[in-house]
């Protein structure tokens, strides 16, 4: 505890924040203290106005589960990783729109001082922006000005080796706390007003576990999935009591002996089977189901020694939110040998009923643009596959099974001398968040056309060591990699429009009620597109590549669009 507070105060000094607060402390104004004292000394019946007055101060509002379920009613706030439980990453704000976006300008930039890839999606609640940065950083900003309110950093052990950078994709918020997963596999609850640690629970990072995902708060639980598919971990999804940090349930994504699915692993391979769960899932309050996607089986690019489908790797899981019990699963890539984690945000889509007067005919779907290059639409009540269509360059499957699921060709496996397969190891898409716009009824996703040569490189399992079993390279003869923003019609699986970037990007995508789609590029541009046509209407050069997804919020009636790029968080608005 002492160590943590030392880290934090040192960082505040490093950032020169002392000048922002008198003497490095945060003094509430005398007026508010006096008001609080008055309230505290009054009896309940006359205290009521005090409560109302204090509740009227927006920064004191609690984020309840009800608010999260009904997030569409407060589009000024962005309270979950994808903006709502459905995963649409759609903002109901339309102040910035097709007609005026050309005048949009930068409002503030916050420099995190972090190096590497900044993958965070900020949350905004009642005027305060909460976000994360590399190396276990979390911070709160005044969302109007970008001025910091608090910062937290948990010391990063020197011997961690996360596969893909010291990254983090964001926070969850519930009640008066925000929740952070750390690289050394801790789940930390921070006081939303001060950044102070409320509770802290740990998994052992030495065996390769880490957290990079933005957790999802559901009911009174903090749901989080683990990273470590490159280390031969046994993947899991955990749910912690938001108040106490007590673990309420754990779902192992690789079934143990006696559990259904265990037979899909050869011998003891399940023990190091991978199937991490490192991207944020979605939640259907009607059925109380959490939809959470899983990653590659381990070793990631070598199937030898783990014969079978390797459940529940590369799958979408429907779990009961209260118990973690699985209702259904759908596996996108069976027995994966190309590192095609299915860890893309599963987006809930409801199609309108045929008859406007009843719900009959309305479909409750879940759509996922998968890393393996296919766009899948499932019935989210049953997990039944409805369609699977390629949305990028793929060569690994020429046939589909009886369910309509693409099946890997015999010759798609990596070989010692190397074998070219499309998409490459990075996939047609990856962790970058997609968006579904209910106005255009289009699904927008960042896509990449790239083929790789997959070559086996057998490695023995050793706890905490890399466990790939293969390597991949660009082909010397290959075309340059190409990157796109694609608009997919989920009803047909066809590409409605595409915009080709100068090179592939890792940016996520946001859609808004203003008829706009926002995304960033590898060259540092933040771009606003017309959602209907894909025409770029506005852009701003941020000076650093984008690895994050944009979001939108409003404070004092003014809309902002924010995105992380380079080492900074940028907020844009109308002049």
């Amino acid at each position: 505890m002492r160590e943590r507070s030392d880290v934090r105060s040192r960082k505040v000094n490093d950032f020169g924040w002392r000048s922002a607060f008198s003497g490095g402390k945060r003094f509430p104004s005398n007026r508010i203290i006096a008001a609080l004292k008055r309230c505290a000394t009054q009896k309940l019946f006359i205290a009521l106005p005090c409560i109302v007055v204090l509740a009227g101060n927006s920064s004191l509002g609690q984020v309840t589960f009800e608010r999260l379920v009904n997030s569409a009613k407060e589009p000024q706030n962005w309270m979950t990783y994808s903006g709502d439980y459905s995963g649409k990453r759609f903002s109901g704000l339309d102040q910035i729109n097709v007609a005026n976006v050309r005048t949009m300008a930068a409002k503030w930039v916050y420099q995190t001082a972090a190096t590497g890839k900044l993958e965070t999606t900020p949350l905004v609640v009642d005027g305060i922006l909460y976000a994360t940065a590399q190396d276990n950083r979390a911070f709160a900003l005044d969302a109007r000005t970008g001025r910091p309110i608090w910062m937290y950093q948990r010391q990063v052990p020197a011997d961690i080796r996360p596969c893909c950078g010291h990254v983090n994709r964001g926070l969850a918020i519930l009640g008066d706390k925000v929740f952070l997963g750390t690289l050394d596999a801790h789940v930390v609850a921070l006081d939303a007003k001060t950044g102070a640690v409320v509770w802290d629970v740990a998994a052992d990072y030495h065996t390769g576990y880490s957290f990079t995902v933005a957790p999802l708060a559901v009911k009174n639980l903090v749901v989080i999935g683990v990273s470590g598919g490159e280390y031969g971990v046994r993947g899991f999804i955990d749910a912690y009591d938001a108040d106490t940090g007590e673990r309420k349930w754990r779902f192992y994504t690789v079934p143990g002996p006696g559990e259904p699915g265990h037979e899909t692993w050869e011998g003891d391979s399940w023990k190091v089977g991978g199937a991490p769960a490192w991207n944020t899932g979605t939640y259907d309050a009607v059925t109380n189901q959490i939809f959470w996607p899983t990653g590659n089986p381990a070793p990631s690019n070598r199937g030898e020694g783990r014969a079978g489908d390797n459940l529940y790797s590369n799958s979408l899981l429907a779990l009961n939110a209260d118990t973690g019990k699985m209702h259904w699963y759908f596996q996108f890539t069976k027995h994966d040998e190309h590192d095609w984690d299915a860890t893309q945000v599963p987006v809930m889509i409801d199609t309108p009923s045929i008859d406007a007067k009843s719900a009959a005919g309305s479909k409750h779907l879940i759509a996922q643009a998968d890393r393996n290059g296919y766009f899948y639409v499932l019935d989210r009540t049953t997990g039944k596959l409805l369609s699977a269509n390629a949305y990028g360059k793929t060569t690994w499957s020429d046939t589909k099974d009886a369910d309509g699921r693409p099946v890997a060709n015999q010759n798609a496996s990596p070989t010692l001398e190397g074998h070219m397969v499309c998409p490459g190891a990075l996939g047609t898409t990856n962790f970058m968040a997609p968006t579904y716009d209910p106005q255009t009824r289009l699904f927008y996703v960042t896509a990449r056309d790239q083929c790789d040569i997959f070559s086996t490189a057998p490695q023995p399992y050793e706890a905490g060591h890399a466990f790939y079993g293969s390597a991949y390279f660009p082909s010397e003869e290959a075309e340059p990699y190409r990157g796109f923003l694609k608009a997919i019609d989920p009803a047909t699986g066809t590409i409605k429009w595409k915009f080709e970037h100068t090179s592939p990007t890792w940016s996520g995508v946001l859609s808004t009620a203003g008829g706009l789609v926002f995304s960033g590029d590898a060259e540092g541009n933040f771009i606003a597109f017309e959602a209907a046509s894909g025409k770029p209407l506005w852009h701003f050069q941020m000076g650093g590549a984008v690895y994050a997804a944009p979001m939108a919020f409003a404070v004092d009636g003014k809309q902002y669009v924010a995105i992380a790029a380079g080492s900074g968080v940028y907020a844009f608005g109308l002049p």
């Binding site: 950078g165 490189a457 490695q459 790939y468 390597a471 050069q541």
Partner: protein, 273 residues
Amino acid sequence: MFRRWRVGLAAFVFLGVAVYGQNPLKDDPKAAKAGEYEFRINCALCHGLGAHGGGRGPDLTRAVKKHTHSDADMFQVISNGIPGTAMPANGTNGQGVGMTDEEIWQIITYIRSQEVKAPAQAQGNAAHGKELFYGDANCSLCHMVAGKGGRLGPELTGVGGSRTREAIIDSVRNPSRRLAWGLTEATKEFPEEYESVTAVTADGKKITGVTMNEDSFSVQIMDAGEHIHLLEKDKLQSFQKSRESAMPKYDVDVLSDKELEDIVAYLVKVGAK
């Protein structure tokens, strides 16, 4: 389990680096085999399968390397990278997960085992190669070596120290093929690779040259006169890119195998410095 491993590693580092600065796995064939797989996962993206050099990384099969001589040098370079080059520090390249000290020594053992098999170096006449480079072969019209020469093509001072003889010869015989060498952005400073471009400005002026950089909205072009043009794409009448290199194809009737060998020898000599 973990503690035992840590103690083992500490002893390893102590013996391997702190005291002797030598590879504790030197000439161990088992370590070389493990190193081969580690190399594929962590290094081959740039340095190629078999360490023969790739689109960006130098050929490591040469006995004489530009940045490293001893195994200890190599350990330091793999651990910390080479500032100012595309060589990243261990664990920061987005490829592979970062290696343990033991794994780095395995890779060094593997690289040393490959050196033995490396082909003989260029045998041409470097002095004649220099004459050709700055003279009849016209290389220096577009390429600079040690501060002398043109600017339109890549600067070549280091190329002889970082590319295989075969790669240099192929670049001269088939200049356009190299343009198609795709690499992930993690190891690229710029998205362009000397693509040829033709732009027509609003007032009808035609500009041809190579891209210095480009994004979706602007492009920076150098023309044959070494003028830099800073253009906004939406203000152009037309903009076309080609992966046909601006460099002419040097067939054997233009440049004989012997002459090309001499130029390679010159570049290798300069690049070794």
